[in-house]
């Protein structure tokens, strides 16, 4: 099959469908950064699969000119792993939000980290359920007041990086939608990494969390090299106030990719039953 020629422009990875996102949403920047990273990597459009669940950010496959799957809430990771298991030749990216990945899809997150398949998982974390109009998510602070939780949830926040580390992910990073230069590099590094690469991207929801606009002032780059020592990584992750960006952990760990042979035929299997 003749592969399409890559023209190295980010635009070649975008469709003409206009996103459903609110003007000023951080997700726009992530969309463009992702396109830029793909252009940099020069991967033919048709060799990329972008899988998502449900939520504002999960609408992203329709906007990227690759094979996409906008599936159901919380289940993007298993769908993507099923695909990667039988199509190791594809570059599989999973994208979604904090509710999709950490709440309804939490169990799959643990097991995807554990399997450490060669896929990239991008979580566009805005600390709120935007699509259902402003409910607290696992990453919302316990005292954040909303209609559904008038006095705050009173529940400690989910620690995505710590959990990814404990569960076996081999590449763990945090990015910020407002820092495109750094983010492009993070996505490229994640996609070049062999194993489960997880990037938690802080992405302000200016509609339901206008205070998150402040992130452009408070989020900072970490100026340290990635470690492959989990003990060191756990310290950095827990010492961070959640506003540090960069690669917290990158290690060479066994990558799960089922192997098969074609040494047997139906004839062999039918013979097993013969009396």
């Amino acid at each position: 099959m003749r592969k399409s020629v890559n023209n190295l422009k980010a635009k070649a990875y975008l469709t003409d469908t206009h996103p459903v996102w609110c003007p000023g949403c951080g997700h726009f920047l992530i969309l463009h950064t992702l396109a830029k990273a793909l252009a940099w990597l020069k991967i033919p459009n048709e060799d990329i699969a972008l899988i998502s669940g449900i939520g504002c950010s999960s609408r992203i496959p329709a906007y990227v000119d690759v094979y996409g799957f906008h599936s159901i809430h919380g289940r993007a990771l298993p769908l993507a792993q099923g695909l990667k298991a039988v199509r190791p030749d594809l570059h599989v990216i999973v994208a979604g939000g904090d509710g999709d990945g950490y709440s309804i899809g939490g169990n799959h997150f643990l097991h995807a980290c554990r399997r450490n398949m060669d896929i990239t998982y991008i979580v566009m974390d805005n600390e709120v359920y935007g699509m259902t109009k402003g409910q607290p998510s696992p990453t919302s602070k316990p005292d954040w007041e909303s209609k559904l939780a008038p006095h705050g949830t009173g529940i400690a926040t989910f620690n995505p990086l710590g959990i990814a580390l404990a569960s076996g992910a081999s590449f763990i990073a945090r990015g910020f939608s407002g820092d495109q230069e750094n983010l492009t590099k993070l996505i490229v590094d994640a996609m070049e990494h062999k194993g489960f690469s997880f990037i938690e991207i802080k992405s302000p929801c200016i509609t339901f969390r206008p205070e998150e606009k402040e992130w452009s002032k408070t989020i900072r780059r970490m100026n340290t090299l990635p470690t492959d020592d989990p003990i060191e990584a756990v310290k950095t992750i827990h010492a961070s106030d959640g506003l540090d960006t960069g690669i917290f952990y990158q290690a060479e760990l066994p990558v799960y990719q089922p192997e098969f042979t074609e040494e047997k035929t139906l004839f062999d299997f039918e013979k097993e039953f013969e009396v």
């Binding site: 099959m1 003749r2 592969k3 399409s4 469908t17 033919p44 459009n45 048709e46 060799d47 699969a49 899988i51 609408r59 496959p61 329709a62 000119d65 690759v66 094979y67 996409g68 799957f69 906008h70 599936s71 159901i72 919380g74 289940r75 298993p78 769908l79 993507a80 792993q81 099923g82 695909l83 990667k84 298991a85 039988v86 199509r87 030749d89 594809l90 169990n107 799959h108 643990l110 097991h111 089922p258 192997e259 098969f260 042979t261 074609e262 040494e263 047997k264 035929t265 139906l266 299997f269 039918e270 039953f273 013969e274 009396v275």
Partner: protein
Amino acid sequence: MSKKTLSISISGSGGSGTVTAGLVLLKSMAIAGFYGYLSRFSGPQIRGGESSVLLHFSDSPIEIFPDVSEIHFALDWHGFERFADEIPLGQESCILYDSTKNKLPEMLEKLGAEIVEVNIHEMSQKSKGSRPNAFAIGIIASKMGLSLEAVSQALHQILDKKGVETFTQTLDAVKVGYTLLKEENTPLASWKPSTQKRWNISGNEACGLGALRAGIQLASAYPITPASDIVEYLASRLEKTGGTVLIAEDELAAMNMIIGGSFGGKASMTATSGAGFSLMVEAMGLAVASEIPVVVVNVMRGGPSTGIPTKSEQTDLNQALFAMHGEAPHIVVAPLHIADTVLCTQWAVGLAEALQTLVVLLSDQRLGQSRAIIDAVPAKTYGLKRKLWEDTHPLQAYERYAITKDNVSAMAIPGMPRGQYTADGLEHTITGKPSSMASDHHQQLKKREEKIKHFDYEDNWAEVLKSSQQANAIVLTWGSTFTHVKQAVSELDLEGVFVDILALRLLMPLPVDAIAKVCQDKKVLVIEQSYSGQFYHYCVGQGAIDASALLLAKPGPLILKNREIKAFITESLS
């Protein structure tokens, strides 16, 4: 015509070798040229609890439980009361038991059955290294008239890996048992061995084989009784034929994994039972909406909730038909017996691929976990393939959900240049772009409904059995109940009671017109394994039969007995 069936049961506590004894006898009978059917029952313990096997032999294919066990051998009576329902003992039975350490249970004393005490303990003192079940095998084999040669061959195959010493000691013990109660007029004396090529296979293995025949390349599942054997069967085989088994973290994952695999262009399936099926339902709707071919096998067990995990029922029918939210046309099929499970599974995969939809295959615990000697199932070609997109018009953009004559759109597979699209659970336009417009919704609803409704299922939709003379009545049934209905109806035929049988393999879309035509001018008798008559109400509700049809519905876990079916039919006709 002399009776050419023989029923045997064996029971004992954990570790007594009950099931092994049953498997040896089944294999021995197969080697001797006969047919047989084995079902096993165990207590609630995971391992080490009491268990029993029920065997039914014949000189022609047989897949029904006997109404009475003619020979019962108790290695001990531990926990026997648990099997009182499943092991049908009566005054026709001959009950043998090891009297060394055991006393006949009170419940069996009044039965009027022939009781034979054997002193296995004493025998085992004489033969070194052998276990009581070996003596039992010998005793039963000699009572049946089964040749020692056949038993020896079967033992050799089963004990192959355990070494020569184990084999010799076991065979010696079998020989001791064999000579103990040697009889002259044995039942098998008048049986004619078959020369057909035959298989020793369980229903769940048959399902796995059907999947392999169909070219499945991804099976993903979460363990659940009684479906795990299917994926266990596939695990060591798929990886040797270019495929993969994925162990999912739960059924939600399993279902989504196969959608991913199939999106990637590989035929994919999962196997589960009721509780797991419930968890998969949301993603099943995704397969329907995004038109991704997948097969979900449900080996039904007693429900609701955790229900009776180790025993059979046909009660997930309503769930298979109607569990999804919205309007989600899909296909539901059900095999009728073990050989049919091979073919029906292959057909199910073919239908999913050709129609780009969800196919649910309903098996059940009895069908899946029973083992039988059957005639080898010949290869069959269904000619059902996935319609793939071909990039023939460079100026034309790809339309994933294009409306076509048969309403099946050509599918692009990741890796195909210019075929990029987004599969979506959201309603969409013909290109796959999300849309909440009425016109798009109506168009796509119609497309998904009609591709399935107007497909030609050929004569695979059902099994129609005509009686020897003009019948005024017909039994309508489905699934594993079929084999029992068939037996009862063939016996009635000899007694001068004539009824036809219509056993459905295709449950959704329900072939309403075809059913009505076959049942025309006949009294319809519906027989199914449920409490509420789900199948009956479905057929009536769809207008396939009218409400004057009569119903025999009995919930699991006990299978409908031959005499119950015969009584229902004769009473319905009088």
